[in-house]
């Protein structure tokens, strides 16, 4: 086996999106020797694609807003499957995290009196999203990146972590490789923070980039941690549908937040026909009321276009299936008749550019065509609400890779605030844990050699399969059989196919050498993709009800009995996944009271 560099840190952060950078900043400020490892160049992580804004009850636009309402909205949006303590911490700390970004140089859009402007968004009762036009994620990642640079944090760019190393059950470090050279890197680390984002690349139509291969989910799983709520996968209601090559690219919910409406091919605002009982009391009954809401929120109720994403995605799906869709298999999203050209260019410049350049559609003149796209996974690594610690000592997780905050469905805008709130907590507690260790856990040369042999195997396998073909088949399987609407039979079929793909993935070959070789990189990512795909399908089969983003055609209703547990996937001693129903704690009286507040 080739030689390798060894680096030693107190805290190793895997991932340089919002959560990873915020964790690294917190760890470094706590005095820990900190490094960040990321698959792309710094500043390119998927956070950059977040468009609409950061949810935080700052109350600059609606003074009635406060953390209790944000907490309630988040829990209701998640169909009460959320970890209530996480949801509470999130709602309480988000405003301070946003103000902190401003102190670090972020420049949000302003109110008339010079404060941070907030926009309405799905499922949020008040205008709550601090934003910069439709490029909020870029502003956030740049601010955090510049802060991390100012703190002198070491960053290993274009480096992928392949395994977490443990010593007597505790984290001892990680094995990684440089994408550019293919060289092996070994990190000795007292604590590791996983901030790797999501799993979108196991679906065909997704808003996610190539990086989203479920690395952190898989690293945690193979290190012995629990994955929870994996059945809850969010399909964003509005992705582009045409032309085919852009299918899935995100169209921000900010379009609807700014007044955009969804129409079917008869020109009807069909969302009025899909208002769930659960949200009826707080949703407008008529077009007039909905339109008045934008200027008078006290006396009118929210437009149904701003219902939570799971509701809107299912509604669009139903309209298309009923033959009321747009020419290319979506529905229409209209902002052109709702807002002046100047205003659109100011508030949604990225959307304007995206549609004009990629689809020849001028959104200031004509409607967009949109349809659901796999966007986010609510499930992930099971963590402690206060510390973001996983069940493996020394291993932490924050952001999309962690479970709990969003329950069965995430509200738009709650992701960016999640990254900040729990990224900080993960970094802080990882640093404290690292400082508390009397001894540095040890790493084993034999184990590293074994891992290296597995990693370089695709170069030695003659006449194996192309890893791209296996990924493509997995994406088709998940899209067709584990999509928005699921059935038991299809999920069983998906599991059979995933099993076959797991076997085939053992025999992949790649041409060329170790230098910047995407085929080889994907060959290694297949392990993660297949691990998370199996976790999703297993959990989806087990949850025999429809709740939030998980819809079962064969079990179309919510079942109160099944609200009493979360599903956890962990690996047994043979490396096979096993499911456990973990009872949910009773909500304390004071929490129930907040949820019942009107």
């Amino acid at each position: 086996m080739p030689g390798y560099e060894v680096h030693e840190y107190d805290v190793l952060v895997v991932g340089a999106g919002g959560a990873g950078l915020r964790a690294a900043i917190a760890a470094a400020e706590e005095g820990a020797r900190t490094a960040v490892v990321c698959k792309s160049l710094l500043g390119k992580a998927h956070t950059v694609m977040a468009e609409g804004g950061i949810a935080a009850a700052l109350g600059t636009v609606d003074p009635d807003d406060n953390w209790r309402v944000h907490f309630r909205d988040t829990m209701r949006g998640g169909k009460l499957m959320n970890d209530w303590r996480m949801a509470m911490i999130h709602a309480q700390e988000a405003p301070e995290r946003v103000l902190e970004l401003e102190r670090w140089g972020a420049v949000f859009d302003r109110t008339r009196d010079g404060r941070i402007l907030q926009r309405p968004f799905g499922g949020h009762r008040y205008s709550r999203l601090a934003h910069v036009g439709d490029r909020t994620g870029l502003e956030m990642i740049r601010t955090l990146q510049q802060k991390a640079v100012a703190l002198g944090i070491d960053v290993f760019m274009e480096t992928t972590v392949s395994r977490i190393l443990t010593d007597a059950g505790r984290v001892a470090g990680a094995v990684a490789y440089r994408r550019e050279s293919g060289e092996l890197l070994v990190f000795r680390a007292r604590a590791v923070v996983l901030a790797t984002g999501g799993v979108g690349k196991c679906y065909k139509i997704t808003s996610n980039s190539w990086e989203y291969t479920g690395d952190g989910h898989s690293l945690a799983y193979w290190a012995g941690a629990d994955l929870m709520d994996m059945e809850f996968v969010q399909f964003h209601p509005t992705g582009m549908v045409w032309p085919p090559s852009v299918r899935g690219i995100l169209v921000t919910e900010g379009v609807r937040g700014e007044g955009g409406v969804l129409l079917n091919n008869k020109g009807e605002r069909f969302m009025f026909n899909y208002i769930p009982e659960y949200y009826r009391a707080e949703t407008a009954e008529s077009v007039d009321e909905a339109d008045r809401w934008y200027t008078d929120k006290r006396n009118n109720r929210r437009p149904p276009e701003l219902l939570p994403r799971d509701v809107v995605a299912r509604a669009i799906n139903s309209e298309i299936k009923a033959g009321r869709g747009s020419p290319h298999g979506g529905v229409f999203l209209d902002i052109a008749t709702r807002m002046g050209r100047e205003q659109i260019l100011r508030k949604l410049p990225g959307m304007y550019e995206q549609f004009l350049r990629l689809a020849d559609v001028d959104i200031t003149k004509e409607p967009m065509e949109v349809g659901p796209t796999m966007h986010y996974i609510m499930g992930g690594v099971r963590v402690d609400a206060e510390t973001a610690a996983t069940t493996v000592p020394g291993l932490y997780a924050a952001g999309e890779v962690a479970a709990g905050l969003h329950g069965a469905n995430r509200l738009g805008g709650n992701s960016l605030s999640d990254l900040l709130v729990f990224g900080r907590r993960a970094g802080l507690h990882a640093a404290r844990y690292a400082a508390s260790l009397a001894q540095v856990p040890s790493i084993s040369g034999d184990e590293i050699e074994e891992i290296a042999n597995e990693m370089y195997a695709p170069f030695h396998c003659a006449d194996g399969e192309n890893p791209f073909s296996i990924q493509k088949e997995l994406q088709e399987t998940m899209q067709d059989l584990v999509g928005i609407v699921r059935t038991g039979d299809e999920l069983k079929e998906a599991l059979r196919r995933i099993q076959a793909l797991k076997e085939r993935a053992q025999r992949v070959s790649v041409p060329g050498n170790q230098q910047y070789n995407p085929g080889w990189h994907l060959a290694m990512d297949l392990r993660s993709l297949l691990t998370v795909a199996e976790g999703i399908a297993l959990s989806a089969l087990e949850r025999k009800e429809s709740r939030g983003a998980h819809t079962r055609e064969d079990y179309p209703k919510e079942d109160p009995e099944q609200a009493k547990f979360n599903l956890v996937v962990r690996r047994n001693s043979d490396g096979e996944p096993v499911l456990e129903k973990v009872p949910r704690p009773e909500l304390p009286e004071e929490v129930r009271k907040i949820l019942e507040e009107a």
Binding site: S40, L41, L42, G43, K44, A45, H46, V48, M49, L99, E102, R103, W104, G105, V107, D109, R110, D113, G114, R115, V132, G133, R135, L138, E139, R142, Q146, K147, V149, G152, M157, E180, S209, W210, W242, P243, P244, S245, V246, I249, L250, G350, E353, Q354, L358, A359, N466, P467, F468, K472, V510, P511, G512, N513, Q515, Y516, N517, P518, G519, W520
Partner: protein, 256 residues
């Protein structure tokens, strides 16, 4: 679908050449789609950087038929169907492999820039800024760090030796954003003149032309920075005082 030829530069620091690939191109395909199709079906070891595929992350910069562009925002239909589309790596940066170049110089420059240093907040702990006052800063913060401006700037493209004394357009945008931030209190003018070498820019606006975010780099960032540097090094009151004392006017410029 139509069969088209895409000619992709393949090689590394030791040299390389354009290699032709025949690809079925679908309606609406961008150059990145076609490159990724080649990678998935014909050349799995073809090196290319990309992330968002929507013009927001600035990863997939390349020279397409000689023009610096984002591959994800360049439609195949822009080019004549009967001729190959040539895709080459950015020329200004050292080649790693195929379409991937070594842009680490940019990350080293970023480390030298004194960070944001805000004034104290208002008495209630908040900052207030009017939208008009942040419009310009927001223009600069649209930068997606695609480094196309760095790539076309001839101060460094044609004279690699200048890389040691000239930061390049991206970094003037960053410096301008900090200097014009209503809350910032740091003074970076000496760095802008000396280390960043703003004086080397001869205002040909090549950077502005290629910016996919339409940032007016030359007019709004570089020229105002040049003016600020002049203000620092040329204090008119001092000049007048010196002149009255009979000193040579030119001598003032070198003092601070």
């Amino acid at each position: 679908m139509a069969l088209r030829t895409i000619s992709i530069y393949r090689g590394d620091s030791g040299g390389g050449r354009f290699v032709d690939f025949q690809v079925d191109v679908e309606e609406g395909n961008v150059v990145l789609d076609v490159v990724l199709k080649v990678q998935a079906e014909q050349a799995p070891d073809l090196a290319v950087r990309w992330n968002c595929k929507a013009g927001r992350c600035g990863s997939c910069s390349a020279e397409i038929n000689g023009h610096p562009r984002l591959m994800c925002m360049t439609r195949m239909s822009m080019f004549p169907a009967d001729r190959p589309v040539y895709v080459a790596p950015l020329k200004t940066f050292p080649l790693v492999k195929d379409l991937v170049t070594d842009v680490s110089l940019n990350y080293q420059i970023a480390k030298t820039i004194p960070p944001f240093q805000p004034r104290p907040p208002d008495p209630d702990g908040l900052y207030r800024m009017s939208q008009e006052d942040v419009d310009r800063v927001q223009e600069f913060r649209r930068c997606i760090e695609c480094f196309l401006c760095q790539n076309v700037c001839h101060v460094i493209r044609d004279h690699p030796e200048n890389k040691a004394r000239f930061y390049g357009p991206r970094w003037f945008v960053r410096l301008a954003e900090l200097e014009m931030h209503p809350l910032d209190t740091a003074d970076r003018r000496q760095l802008i003149r000396e280390m960043a070498g703003v004086g080397f820019c001869n205002v040909t606006k090549c950077c502005t032309e290629v910016c996919p975010e339409h940032i007016k780099i030359t007019d709004n960032a570089i020229i105002p920075l040049k003016e600020r540097v002049v203000d620092l090094y040329f204090d008119p009151l001092r000049w007048l005082a010196d002149r009255l004392k009979g000193k040579r006017p030119g001598a003032v410029g070198a003092q601070q």
